[in-house]
Every structure is written in structure tokens, then in C-alpha cells.
Symmetry: none
Subunit: 171 residues, 4 copies
DNA sequence: ACCTACGGGACGCCCCGTTACT
DNA sequence: AGTAACGGGGCGTCCCGTAGGT
């Protein structure tokens, strides 16, 4: 990923990038934050889905969106470029790094909402379930060379992860 | 990570690297495979721990070893360098990429062994549990900027993940 | 002849060369073709001199121009750099390699013109005379270490070569 | 042409080259002088052929030998490597450079011998004929990419060059 | 004495950041 | 403001000359 590749793709000259951004890393930070803002909309959809449909479906849909093509392309950047990650940490005061931390907090919030609604056990370890979902989801979608997983695979994984914390309806 | 950084760190001349490896990517491939071989020893330890101690302890120790400082430094390399990943895929005939796939298969094998020993439920979805453990473990340890997680944090996470599949002793 | 030597001599940065030419060999090809185009003008002068002055003078002047300092510096390049020679062969569709083949065809054309004008014997072996002139001229001028030959030396050589094919005025 | 290529071809290690020669250019000088000494034998054959066979045949054979595969491979080296040429000039006190100057003096000596024997005109410009033969011969054989010329082509060229200086038998 | 390994200068190339020019 | 060219630091690689190991 070079600055020239970016400007060529954008169909503009190289100078315009440096007129709007101090340097290339600054551009990347802004790019990631911009995509992160777009992701925020999808986290809102997840949050509002609490109580509707099934928990497994809601989470599967959320993972598919949160690890869609755009985040899947951005996450390796964050993982590998030290300076980008450092600047993102500074730019996201809430702690953690954009995208991944964002996905985690959204899923944790959703699980908490479902717990309050009674569909998740009161004593569920939400942080650990979230870590499983985000970590496992990341691996499922991060295999760039093999393309995204099937919907069934995601559903199967999510169902297994939340099996222990799903509140069974009293019979 | 540049060739000069490597030779400077090793305290040798640039030519040394070029004499022992056809090119820099070949060096990286060999480096990763070498560390992967070192990891194989630890996966053997995990496999043989089946039936001893507690499942949670065994898995926590395994995650701590599998995601130690060395793998944590190597994984970003594999994620970000496309050619390295491609060559590793060719070099590891078993399918998958070194390190992460290795950790997954080791944990899955361990869980299967424990299931055969009766400490993991017969109907446990081992693949999903493995995905949770490796994915979540990766996230726990991959936060390079904050150092490794505490032992307690790892134990807590592992305990939560396997809570559903642990075979309760008959009362 | 290195890329840095070129840019240093030109008083510009290394990047400039790389911006205008795909690679260094492409630069050399373009350089040779550019000088070859400049030579074409002098071959035109030779061709139009047919019938004027003396044949020996015309050929001596032509050799002096065709093997001037610039071609004398370029010919070793073509001789020694295999890839440059290969690319030049592709770039000059008429067959042969730039500069030397160019000089040969120009001189052969001139001799043919003089033959048609009656100043060269009808049965002259133009190809052989051309080979003598170009080959001998090359050796005369190619001795880079001793500088160019004197005009008298060139005249003497040319006169000897064409002595056999000059048409004697009918007595 | 690198020192490694030489030692690999010779089937020995790199150090042996520097044990016998001060540096790579010294090795090349010795190599050229060695081949030049081998050529001297063929120039002797040419000299002794004076008065036998035909002049054209003798010269054609000489050119074919003097510009055989080995000299054809060495001449570009001499032309392109400035330091090698400079050292050769110092090493051959007779003036001129090895190989090419050697060929010239051999042919000139042969022509002089034939002149003394009456087969070459007394007033022949031997130096110019020699220059034509060596220069034209060089071009004929130097086209490395197309292989050596046919015997007939060499004969044709030689015949044309010496046509003017051959002493016709009185009829 | 030969051979392997090393040391390091240089080469072609890449790519970022800047600067005149339109 | 947008463009196109420049300047130069750095990368991976090549290859010469040398120095220990056998």
C-alpha cells in the first residue's frame, strides 16, 4: 500500500494527498477513522436488534458486517503498521484501537442488552464471550487468501460460542 | 523489518544474509518455519498434558506459550506480507499457514484427547471451541503495545470458553 | 556507466531518471536511438554529397562524422551490454543494430549512388568496400585511449580502400 | 563476467583466484595474454604460408582463426573494460593492444612477405589493406548474436579487399 | 594450499515529501 | 487548487577482496 497506489486509484495527482493530509500515515489514520465511523452505523443496527429475532442470527449478521471486505482490508494495516496503530490509539480516547475495539464494545453492549432483556444468562461472562466472538470472527474472516466464510459456518460458530450463556426458556 | 535491520541486529554484514538465503523473503520463510518447529515442541507438551491437571490450566498454559513474544512478533509479519504468506502456504503441505493453523490443530487435538478421556463432552463442537480459544487468545496477546495479559485474565477467558463443554462429574 | 553516474553528470537526482524511463536499460536504448537519429542527419548529408567533390573526401568526412566522439562512446556500450544490444535489435526493425548497421547502410547507399553516377565501377563489390570502410574506420576511431586519427590518416585509408573501385576517367 | 562465474566454471573456489592473481583485472590481463600467446602460433602459420596456396585463401584462413570463438569472446572485453585495456597496453610494449594489434601486425607482416615474393604489388598500401582486413573481419565475426560468417562470405570479402593489390601475372 | 564465510561498497530501483508551474 | 516534476533516503541485491577453518 503506497501513496502512489492510493492517488492512482483515486485518479488524482500525488500532491493532492499531501495538501489535505500532513503525511501518508495521517491519511491512513483518517481513512481508518472514516471507515470506523461507517461501522458505527452497523453497531447501532446491532444494538437495536436486541430482543428481536434470535441472538445467534443477530450476532452472525453483526460479525459478517463487522468483518466485511472493508474492515478485513483495514485490520491487517492496523496490525502491521506500528505508527498507524499508535496514532489510532491516540485518536480513539476510549481505549483500544479503532475497528477491533469498536466491534468488541458493540458486541459487548448488545450482549448486555440481551442479558437485561433476559435472553442471556445473568451470570454470563460477557467480556469472554465477546472476546471469543470477535477473536474467532476475526480468524474466520481474516483468511484473505480463501475468501469469506459461508453463512452456515458463521452461524455454527456463533451458536457454539453462546450456547453456554443463552437463557433457556423455562419448560 | 528490513534486511539491514536484521543484519545490524545480528551484528553481521549484509552479505551474510544473502549468502545463506536466496532472497529476503526466503529468509523470512525459514525464520517462521524455524519458530514454528520450536512451537511444535510446545504443542507436544500440550498433547501429553491431556488427562493431567485441569483442562483450563492446560489450555491457559498452551495459549501463553503459543502466543508468546516470538509468535506475537511473527504473526503480524505473516498477516501483512502477502508473498511470505503465499510461500508459507506452499511450504506447509498440511494446509493452512504456519503458526496460527499450527496452534489451532494442536488445541483441537488436545480437546479431542480430553473428550476421549471423558473430560470434554462427547457432543462438544471442538472446532468452534478451538476457534474461540485461538481467536480470543490472539486478540489477548496481539495487543503488542500493552504487553501480554495477566495469567488471571487468560485463565478467566479460557474458563469461560470451555465452561459449556466441560464434562461435569456425575453427582 | 551507472545510473548514478548519469544523474550526477546531469546534475539531477536519481529519481529523475527513473521517472522518465522504465529502467536503466530503457534509458540506454533511448539514448542510443536518440544519437542514432542525430546520425541519420549526417547520413543524409553523405547521400546528397554523391556526385560532388571527390569520393574520397566525401567518405572521409562521413567516417569522421559517423565515428565521432559520441558514437565512439556508444559503440562499446552496444558491444558489451547484451541486453542493450538485444533491445536495440528489437527497436530497429530494419535488421541489424543501430549505429554500426546504420553507418554501413548509409555508406553502401552512397557508394551505390556514386556508381549510378559513374564515379564507381559498375562491377564494384559495394558490400565489401563498405565493410572495409566501416570496419577499418571503426578501428581507426575506436582507439579511445589515443584520441581520433588525423584527417590525413583517414584520407589515406579511404583512398586505398576505394582505389580499386574508382572509375578512371576514360582517356 | 564476474569472478564468481569464472571460478564456478573452473570448478574451484573463489579464493584460489586471488591466491594466484592480485585482483580480478590482473587475472583478465593474464587470461588475454595467454590467449594472445596461443594466437601467436597461428600468426606463425600465416607467416609461413607466404608464397604457398593463394593469398586470398591464406588471409581467409587467418581471419577465421584470428577471430575465432575465443578472440571473439575476448575482444568485447578489451573494448568495454577500460582498466583491462589500459593494463594490456602497458603489458604489450610493442604498441597497441593485444589481440587486435597482434592480428594487424601478423597480417601486415604476411602481406609484406607476399610483396617481397612478388604476389603483392610493390606500391601496395599494406597498412591500409591490413586495416581493411582486420576491421572488416572484426565486423564480420563480431556479430555475436548471429554466429560466425560462412567461409564463402569471408573469401568474398578478402578477395575484394586485396583485388587492387594482387600482382597480376603477366600474360 | 584450498575452501567456506564474511565485510562492505555500489548498483538499480522504489517511494515519500516537496516544489515550481498552470 | 491541482498538476507534474524533482530530491533524496532507503531497500534488496550483487559482487569483489579478504580472513579464518581444515
Amino acid at each position: 500500500l503506497t501513496s502512489r497506489a492510493v492517488t492512482d486509484e483515486a485518479g488524482c495527482a500525488k500532491g493532492v494527498l499531501h495538501r489535505h493530509f500532513a503525511d501518508f500515515d495521517t491519511f491512513l489514520v483518517d481513512l481508518v477513522l472514516d471507515r470506523a465511523a461507517a461501522l458505527q452505523m452497523q453497531t447501532a443496527v446491532l444494538r437495536e436488534s436486541a430482543g428481536t429475532g434470535t441472538v445467534a442470527d443477530n450476532l452472525s449478521t453483526a460479525l459478517t458486517n463487522l468483518f466485511g471486505p472493508v474492515p478485513a482490508a483495514i485490520i491487517p494495516l492496523i496490525i502491521s503498521r506500528d505508527e498507524l496503530r499508535a496514532r489510532l490509539r491516540l485518536a480513539t480516547p476510549g481505549g483500544g484501537i479503532a475497528i477491533l475495539a469498536q466491534a468488541s464494545s458493540a458486541i459487548a453492549a448488545y450482549l448486555a442488552a440481551e442479558r437485561d432483556l433476559g435472553r442471556i444468562a445473568d451470570d454470563a461472562d460477557i467480556d469472554s464471550v465477546t472476546l471469543s466472538l470477535v477473536g474467532g470472527g476475526h480468524l474466520l474472516f481474516a483468511d484473505l487468501d480463501n475468501g469469506p466464510p459461508t453463512t452456515a459456518a458463521v452461524e455454527k460458530f456463533v451458536t457454539a460460542v453462546i450456547a453456554d450463556v443463552l437463557q433457556r426458556r423455562p419448560g
